[in-house]
Symmetry: C2
Subunit: 345 residues, 2 copies
């Protein structure tokens, strides 16, 4: 295709600032003959306060028409916890069946990490995005009384588990080390654990070149700080994926550089690309936010749309910028400009 | 009381070796006039293979009579994942209502940590022990078919949440920094999240001296590696507690030194003390296991039974041993002997 039709959702807090840089780099890297069209959407706290809406059916219909979605961040302290998360972000991931939540972690030389000895880190987490404890199943009885009971139901289907496990095997197969680790807690969550483990074992037979292993999620957090080099591809459920990818981001350069793709591999719905970080209201509007995570999310977006060479150019620009960055303090805009200049040259 | 009647469960793998050192140190630290009686139980993989039993009602009746329980580790690759965990360890924690799962993390000077810059780490996690996703609620339909659905239900009660939150506030109140952090994921798990957050806020009013804050579990893993000094006391649910205490152990000296108490504060049932680590079958029987975590669990046991001075002596002995340990390679037995000698002197 010689055009990209992008839905842009800057969202709240630093979302505006970082998305602007993402678009700047995207424009700079695209070949002249590719037309970039963007439509901006005003989802987030402001719209919620004004209208009470988070994401309507009409919004979904409109978003559906685009090739992909670029999201900054959604969330503001003025909105009760859960309202925008469930009403916007998770609603969108579920409605557009973003079952592959892709989160790469790569520690570049010279980039700060809280870990001693600058270990080698280069893995990708394939987090299931449409099931598990994220379904919103559950409820509360006798709310606010001493007899309240609140439940959360993790729902796991053969259909949902198999497709994400299969996706992860294919990704592992395509990487040089060809290694896939299943992370779960099958010794305690035995119902879901059986389904995940049995599916993993069954699909593994179709990928004889891929080396596999299994870790309980608690043990996985240990290895993420003591031996992150052991990981190549990780596949895991929605909640475990949420937890370990924040930790993974922390050890591999911080959430300022952690990108993610909420992918619908069939293409039935547009995929959504977003930094792992949140809206960081405390630093919003000050030009302090690091747009790198958003720019790397743009690289994932480019790859998803088939612009592999451009994706690589963006990633190489970021790598060069990060390794040369040192202690320099630059504004959001300056980092965006620097990255745009690199990809254009 | 001038006697301690202890149930001892060495269990599997390195459990035998480390428990022997724990008992050695316990005997050495107790005043002459305190009689230590122990009864050993053979729970674990061997008994399971021989009899098919993990923990019977008769076993529970027998265990109930003791003042406390010292556990090594349970688990062996020859037993399917989940059988001993659910059938023994969790069964015991639930049967004896061990709702306060206490896991301190302290990084001592000179002790190896994967974190750069040897940060200050001295906090304690109060993990709920009898609810949440650990209840075994849930199930599977259409098992083994393409239409399988497996669910896991996290059950949270006002009763269960309030008592552990209250316990955590009291612990925070008794510490110099008086700070308590609630860790949950209340923006996604909104039913349980409301109950935890509302209870936390309500109980906080009774502890005006305690500073409180809240972190999502994913963000908590970030701070555990970037700023662990920010934590004093953490209260959290059973699964989040499982995950973050392994990470906490990893950054504060490793699971070789991480102790835990499964506490029934009312004393209706005996509390159980165990290292956080597992049975490590790969190094079992080789004298390679570090018994420090078990010895520190013995300190928690002593404190629980009212032997505060002795608990401190054990902790000081461990601290001295760890800081002087350097790169020396010692056997399990040698470390136990060294610690026993220190507490006796
Ligand atoms: C904001 C929140 C709902 C979200 C999640 O839990 O998935 C975020 O933490 C993430 O990882 O994208
Ligand atoms: C062995 C397992 C059931 C247990 C748990 O998950 O609680 C362990 O990981 C722990 O932390 O004590």
């Amino acid at each position: 295709s010689h055009s990209i039709d992008l839905a842009v959702i800057p969202g709240d807090g630093i979302g505006q600032e970082v998305v602007a840089q993402g678009l700047k780099v995207l424009s700079a890297v695209l070949p002249q003959d590719v037309k970039l069209e963007t439509e901006e959407y005003d989802f987030g706290a402001k719209r919620y306060h004004a209208t009470g809406e988070t994401l309507t059916d009409a919004d979904l219909d409109s978003l559906k028409k685009h090739d992909a979605i670029l999201l900054g961040a959604i969330g503001d302290p003025s909105v009760p916890s859960g309202v925008l998360e469930r009403g916007f972000l998770l609603k969108l991931r579920f409605a557009f069946d973003h079952h592959v939540n892709l989160r790469p972690s790569k520690l570049l030389p010279g980039v700060a990490t809280p870990l001693a000895g600058q270990p080698e880190i280069d893995f990708v987490v394939v987090r299931e995005g449409t099931e598990g404890p994220y379904t919103g199943n559950g409820g509360t009885i006798r709310k606010g009384t001493p007899h309240e009971v609140a439940t959360e139901v993790s729902v796991n289907t053969a259909f949902g588990v198999e497709r994400v496990v299969r996706d992860a095997f294919a990704r592992a197969q395509a990487r040089p080390r060809k290694k896939l680790t299943l992370v779960h807690k099958n010794n305690v969550l035995t119902f879901a654990g059986h389904l995940w483990t049995d599916t993993f074992t069954r699909v593994a037979a179709e990928f004889p070149e891929v080396t596999t292993d299994y870790l309980h999620v608690d043990a996985a957090t240990i290895f993420l700080v003591t031996d992150p080099a052991r990981f190549d591809v990780i596949v895991t459920d929605n909640l475990f994926g949420d937890i370990i990818t924040d930790l993974a981001a922390a050890v591999s350069g911080g959430i300022g550089v952690a990108a993610s793709g909420n992918i619908n591999p069939s293409g039935e719905f547009p995929s959504m690309f977003e930094p792992v970080h949140g809206s960081a209201p405390d630093i919003a509007g000050q030009g302090k936010a690091d747009p790198t995570a958003t720019v790397l999310s743009v690289a994932l977006l480019l790859r998803h749309l088939g612009y592999e060479a451009e994706a690589v150019r963006v990633e190489e620009a970021v790598a060069a910028d990060l390794t040369e960055r040192g202690d320099s303090v630059r504004t959001t805009d300056e980092i965006g400009d620097a990255l745009a200049a690199r990809v254009a040259s």
